[in-house]
Amino acid sequence: MSLLNWFSQVWSVTKFGLLGIPQRRGSVAAALFGVAGVVAVLVGVLSIAVGFRRVMTSAAPPDSVIVLRSGADSEMVSGLDRETTRIISEAPGLYRSPQGAWASPELFVIIDLPKRSSGTDANVPMRGVEPIATNVHAIRIVEGRMFGWGKTELIAGAGAAKNFRGLNVGDRIKVGPEEWPIVGIFSADGGTAESEIWSDAAMLQAAYHRGDSFQSVYATLQTPDAFNMFESSLTNDPRLNIKAMRLADFHADQSTATTKLITSLGFLVASLMAIGAVFAALNTMYGSVSARTREIATLRALGFGRGAVVVSVMIEALALALAGGVLGAALAYFVFNGFETSTINWQSFAQLTFAFAVTPALLIQGITWATLIGLVGGLFPAFRAARLPIAVALREL
C-alpha cells in the first residue's frame, strides 16, 4: 500500500468523523468544554503563582544585597542597631558616591489598613528609610511629591494605593497616636516596594517605639562580583551577628512557600479535572465510533486498513481536545491575565500586591495537557473501532 493511498484512507475516515460532529453536538460539546475547563483552571491557578513570583523576583539587580540579623528569615523578625548599620556601610565592595556608601538602613513594620475589595483589615507593609534609600531603590514618584525628611508624611506604592483604602494623595492614616498625610504615590518598576508605604525612618522609629534600631540594610555593590568580599568581611567581623544575601536569592526564598502552595494545589485540582475530562473525551469518542459502526465496517470491507481507522479516530479526538485547549487557554488569558489583587505572604507576614500573569509558557503547558487528554481519550475508542469484526458490524445495520 503506497503512503499516498494510506493518507487518503486516513483522510476519508477522518472526514466521516468530522462531518458527523454536528449530529453529536451534545457529546462533542461536553468533551470540548471539559477540556477547556481543565486548561482554563490549570492556566488560571498557575498564573497566580507566576504573577506572585514575578513581583518577588523583579527589581532585584545582580548588584543588590540585603543584610539581616543572623537567624532571621524575614525582615519582620530581624533587628540591627545603629552601630551595626554603620559598620555595614563601611564594608568593602559597596558602591560609593558623594552622598556616601549605598547602604540603606531600613525599618520594616506593618500597619492595619482595610482592603478595598473586602473592607477587612490587612497587614500592609510600611518601610522607614533614610535619604540614601532613594539611590539604592529604583523608585519614582508618579503622583504628588516625596515625603519631607523630619516630617510625619508618607508616600504609598502604586500597588498598595490601588488595593487598600485611605492611600490616595491627600488622605490621612493613623500611625500610632497621630494621623499622617499621604503626599505622594511611587512606582518601583513592578517590584515588591510597590506594595509598601514609605516614610522617614526616624519618624517611624518613634511611632513604633523602636529606639534607634533598624531591621535590614539594603545595599548596592560596585560590581556583582564584589559580593564575596562584602559578605566575608561582614561575617568575619566579631562585632557583627548578621547574614548577607543577594537580594534576588532573598526574594526567591521569601516566595517559595506561597508559590509552592499555589502551584501544588493548582496541579492537584487540574489533575482531578483532567481525569474527569478524559472520561468525557472517552465517552464522546466511544459514542462517535459506535455511531459510525456501519460506516467503519463498510470502509474496512472495501479494503481500508486498520491503521487508517486508528489514526483517523485519534485525529478526531486530538482535534476536539486541541480546540478545547485553545478555547480554555484563551478564556484563561482574557479572564486572568493582569488581574490585580493582593495576598498575604506568610513569610514576610505582609501583604503583597501583584497581577496574575498568563505567560506563553503557561499557555503551552495548558495546550500540552489538552493534547494528552485527547491522546488518552482517543486511544481506546480508536482500537475498538479498528477491532470491530466486519461481518458482525455490517449485520448490525
Binding site: G26, S27, A29, A30, F33, G34, G37, A40, V41, V45, G71, A72, D73, S74, M76, V77, V109, I110, I111, D112, K115, S117, S118, T120, D121, A122, N123, K174, V175, G176, P177, A207, Y208, H209, A257, K260, L261, S264, L265, L268, V269, L272, M273, I275, G276, A277, F279, A280, L282, N283, Y286, G287, T341, S342, T343, I344, F349, Q351
Partner: protein, 384 residues
C-alpha cells in the same frame, strides 16, 4: 420503588457509557470535597464556642505588643468574665519547613479560656509545677514522635534569651486533644512566666489578649468599653469577636470563597454537560421502548419518573462514591505538610455535596424526561 429493577436494567444496558459517566461524576465530587477541605483549612475553624470570646490587639498592628498591665485593667471592666493572653513566638523546630505555632501563655487562665483544649488533670498539674513545661497538640506530637518527658529545643526567630541564645528548651509535660474536630491540635503552648523572665527584650509585653464576656449578647458593648479604656494611651486597642479576628486573618489570603466557587462552577458545568448528554442519548435510543411502555398502560408520570429516577440514581451514586473517596483522601491529612493544620471534611459540606448530587440528577434528567413524557405512542412505535 416498584420500578427500581427497570431503572437498574436501563443503566446496565450500556455499561461502558454508564461507567464513564459515573466516573466523571465521581471525579467532580472528589474535587468538591477536596476544595471544601481546602477552603475550610484556609478560612480556619471558626468555632461557635468562641461566641462569647473577644480578641484584643494593638490598634496599629498585630506586630506591636500590649502591656501586661492591661490584664488587670480589663478584668475590672464590667461584663468581662476572664482574660488571658498569647504572644507569637515564631519558633523553628529543626527545619523552617516544620511549621507549627508556639505561644507563651498563662496555664491557668489559658485552660480556663479554652475549654476545647482537653488536657488530662495530672498533666495539667505537671504543667503548673514545671516552669519550663510545655503542652503540645496531638497532631504535632505524633508528627515529631514527641512523648511526655521529652526535652524539645526550639529556635526562636524573634526572641533571644538574656544570654543571647535563641534556642529555647521545653519539657513536654502534656499532650492535648481537641474537644471537637475543628480544634487546632498543632500548637505548642509554654509558660509565659518562664518566657518573660528569660527573654532579652520586650519584657512585660504580650501579643494579644482574649476576653470572655459574661453575656454573649453584650459582647459588642464590652468591646467598646475595652477600646475606650485604652483610648489615647501609647498602646490603643482594637477589640473584635474571635470569629471576626480569625476571619480577618483568612481574608488576608484573598477571596478564597470566590476562587473555590469559580473552579467548582467550571467543574459542575462540565459534568452537567457530560451527564445531560448521556441521559438524552439514553432516551433517544429508547424512544421505541418507551412507546411500548406507554402502550401497555404506563402513565405519563410514570415514564417521567423512570427517566428522572435513572438520572438521579446515577447522580446520587456517583456523588456518594465521590464524597466517600474525598473523605478517604482528606482523612489522610494535610497535603502541604504543615501549612494547613485544620485540614478536614466539614460535615456541612458533606451534606451540601449529597444534595448537589441529587440536584445534578434532576437537572440533567429533566429535559430528556419531559421529552419521554410527551412522546406520542403511535409516533414512538413507528420509530422502532
Amino acid at each position: 420503588m416498584r420500578f427500581f429493577h427497570l431503572i437498574w436494567g436501563n443503566l446496565k444496558r450500556k455499561k461502558l457509557r454508564t461507567g464513564l459517566t459515573l466516573l466523571s461524576i465521581i471525579v467532580a465530587f472528589v474535587l468538591f470535597g477536596f476544595l471544601a477541605a481546602i477552603k475550610q483549612a484556609l478560612a480556619g475553624g471558626i468555632t461557635l464556642e468562641g461566641q462569647n470570646r473577644l480578641v484584643v490587639r494593638n490598634k496599629v498592628s498585630l506586630i506591636l505588643p500590649l502591656p501586661l498591665s492591661y490584664q488587670d485593667r480589663m478584668l475590672r471592666i464590667p461584663g468581662v468574665a476572664a482574660v488571658t493572653h498569647m504572644t507569637w513566638f515564631g519558633g523553628i523546630y529543626q527545619d523552617p519547613k516544620n511549621f507549627f505555632m508556639q505561644a507563651p501563655v498563662q496555664p491557668e487562665s489559658f485552660l480556663d479560656m479554652y475549654p476545647e483544649i482537653v488536657l488530662p488533670p495530672d498533666q495539667k498539674q505537671a504543667w503548673l509545677q514545671t516552669r519550663t513545661g510545655a503542652i503540645v497538640g496531638r497532631k504535632t506530637a505524633e508528627r515529631f514522635h514527641w512523648k511526655v518527658g521529652d526535652k524539645v529545643p526550639i529556635q526562636s526567630t524573634i526572641y533571644a534569651k538574656s544570654d543571647g541564645s535563641r534556642v529555647w528548651e521545653f519539657d513536654i509535660v502534656g499532650i492535648f486533644d481537641g474537644k471537637k474536630k475543628d480544634t487546632d491540635t498543632t500548637p505548642l503552648y509554654f509558660r509565659y512566666d518562664y518566657f518573660d523572665e528569660a527573654r532579652g527584650f520586650s519584657k512585660g509585653n504580650v501579643g494579644w489578649y482574649t476576653i470572655r464576656v459574661r453575656d454573649a449578647a453584650q459582647a459588642a458593648h464590652v468591646a467598646e468599653l475595652v477600646d475606650q479604656e485604652f483610648a489615647n494611651s501609647p498602646a490603643e486597642t482594637k477589640t473584635e469577636p474571635e470569629g471576626a479576628f480569625i476571619q480577618g486573618f483568612a481574608n488576608q489570603t484573598g477571596n478564597i470563597a470566590l476562587i473555590t466557587a469559580l473552579i467548582l462552577g467550571a467543574v459542575f458545568f462540565t459534568i452537567l454537560l457530560v451527564t445531560g448528554n448521556t441521559m438524552s442519548q439514553a432516551v433517544r435510543e429508547r424512544i421505541g421502548e418507551l412507546g411500548v411502555l406507554k402502550a401497555i398502560g404506563f402513565t405519563n408520570r410514570q415514564v417521567l419518573g423512570l427517566v428522572l429516577g435513572e438520572s438521579c440514581l446515577l447522580g446520587l451514586w456517583g456523588g456518594i462514591l465521590g464524597l466517600a473517596l474525598a473523605w478517604l483522601i482528606i482523612s489522610r491529612g494535610d497535603p502541604t505538610g504543615g501549612m494547613l493544620p485544620m485540614f478536614y471534611f466539614p460535615t456541612r459540606d458533606l451534606l451540601v455535596g449529597v444534595a448537589l448530587s441529587v440536584l445534578l440528577g434532576v437537572v440533567t434528567g429533566v429535559l430528556p424526561a419531559l421529552q419521554a413524557m410527551r412522546l406520542r405512542v403511535a409516533e414512538a412505535l413507528r420509530r422502532m
